[in-house]
């Protein structure tokens, strides 16, 4: 059962078409890559999927708990509640807030207490705040960030910031995770660690993952399938092997040479 289907999605800004007739299908539990040269429209795909942009035409269907929803016109926070989470190309942590608060904000959805308990500090407030604290802490512990829970996010080293962003995305309990160039700016060691982390969360959380990446070692190693985007159009789709040998893909990237694997 496909968890996500993009049907002929076109995204145009004024006269400029960032995406043209994009068709992407993700089966539940897959780890799929989305690659393409810079400016191909990969992040635009993410923005359209998460409701930051509304597609000019086409539909996007999301299937969860046997309910199919068309998510074209939904606002980002609604889409997040449906179970789609993302990370950003240029890390968008809440930089001036603590590591702990970054997570606590992501689990705000679960909060049930309203204004009265908040203003008057009723017992239900304290009980829920404690469980919020506990859940946030536990998540941080899983990602080895618990010792830094009171650090400001901006003070974390780059690799840990990326890890925190992924942890925060997972705090929203998603079924579909969109990772936007998580390995950007990482050296081979860090990339190897990240690869392991992604594989681990994929299995442990039972996620479907769509991954944008430029680092081919990462892509080829863990993606089951790959979509290739160029100038806003899907120019190829297949297994890593198929993509590596696809002439159009090679041309799109380097004009003649195979992408570094």
């Amino acid at each position: 059962m496909p968890i996500l289907t993009m049907n002929n999605v076109t995204m145009a800004f004024g006269g400029l078409a960032a995406l043209t007739n994009v068709n992407i299908k993700l089966e539940k539990g897959e780890l799929v890559g989305l690659i393409g040269p810079n400016g191909a429209g990969k992040t635009t795909v993410f923005n359209v999927l998460t409701g930051i942009y509304t597609p000019t035409s086409g539909t996007i269907e999301y299937m969860n708990d046997n309910t199919k929803t068309v998510i074209n016109n939904l606002k980002p926070h609604v889409i997040s509640a449906l179970g789609i989470a993302r990370t950003f190309q240029n890390i968008r942590l809440f930089k001036e807030l603590t590591v702990l608060d970054n997570i606590r904000i992501a689990i705000h959805k679960d909060v049930k207490y309203g204004m009265a308990p908040t203003f008057l500090r009723l017992p239900s407030f304290f009980k829920e705040e404690q469980s919020l604290l506990d859940n946030a802490y536990k998540l941080l512990k899983i990602f080895n960030l618990d010792s830094k829970k009171d650090e400001l996010a901006k003070n974390l080293p780059y690799g840990e910031q990326r890890r925190l962003e992924i942890a925060r995305a997972l705090a929203t309990k998603p079924s579909l995770l969109l990772l936007d160039e998580p390995a950007a700016g990482m050296n081979p060691n860090e990339t190897a660690e990240l690869t392991e982390l992604i594989k681990w969360i994929w299995k442990e959380y039972g996620l479907t993952i769509l991954l944008i990446e430029h680092d081919m070692s990462l892509v080829m190693k863990i993606c089951e399938r790959i979509y290739v985007l160029d100038y806003g159009m899907v120019i190829a789709e297949g297994t890593p092997e198929e993509i590596k040998n696809n002439k159009r893909v090679v041309e799109a990237y380097l004009g003649g040479e195979a992408p570094d694997a």
Binding site: F13, G14, T43, N47, I52, F88
Partner: protein, 293 residues
Amino acid sequence: MAQFLQQLINGLSLGSIYALIALGYTMVYGIIKLINFAHGDIYMIGAYIGYACIRHFKLGFIPSLLISMVACSLLGFAIEKIAYKPLRNSTRIAALITAIGVSLFLEYSTMAIVGATVKTYPEVVKTVTFTPIEGVVINIQQIFIFSVTIILMVILQFIVHKTRIGKAMRAVSADKDAAQLMGINVDSTISFTFAIGSALAGAAGILVGIYYNSINPLMGILPGLRAFIAAVFGGIGIIPGALIGGLTIGIIETVVSGYASSLYKDAVAFAILILILLIKPSGLLGKNTREKV
């Protein structure tokens, strides 16, 4: 019909004033994304300098106009160097509040120096009127205002589009860092922009003194706000937009004042502002720019 034409003509004069002030707002916003709250007060100071020239130094209209413009451009230059330059990399709120501080400083310093009471402009341009059509009176001062505005605008357009410094202004507005990398002296370009904008405000000030006759230290607040609204209406950062915006608001205000209540004319500019911000925030001539995610 005659009354409508009269309102139109009055509106054009008022609108020209707004346009002159709006130009300063729009150029400064275009180049450093700051709403220069103090701009309306530079207009006020222009009026006072004109007053001093005419009343105390007994100068004629043109010399006074020029002196006023030069003095205001120096003032604008100084303000930018002292108060705004240190905040170039600060948050917008910090810059905005600084501008408010400068505005208050100008208003109350002027009040302390020349007193808060209204001063009357001596007659420097003889009041001659024409009546082209029955019921429509045009004052020569109105012709002055409109022609000075058009002349200054043409000069401005020339500077912006046909000179190197103008090109530098456009480049810095588009992308400050890239302009710097291309060898453009960003600091002088910004200073120049402030100087020109302030000169235009100064001109507006003296023209208002001549036409409406009375000036006071707080005269810059409301026209300043309205001129800013005009700039937003026409498209902030876009020079022709300031002219269109200024004239439009001037005309609408005069018409509302003439046909409806003059009490509500103050609300006109703000109502237009709300509408434009809700419908097309980039203004009449503006383009939509999205934040890159």
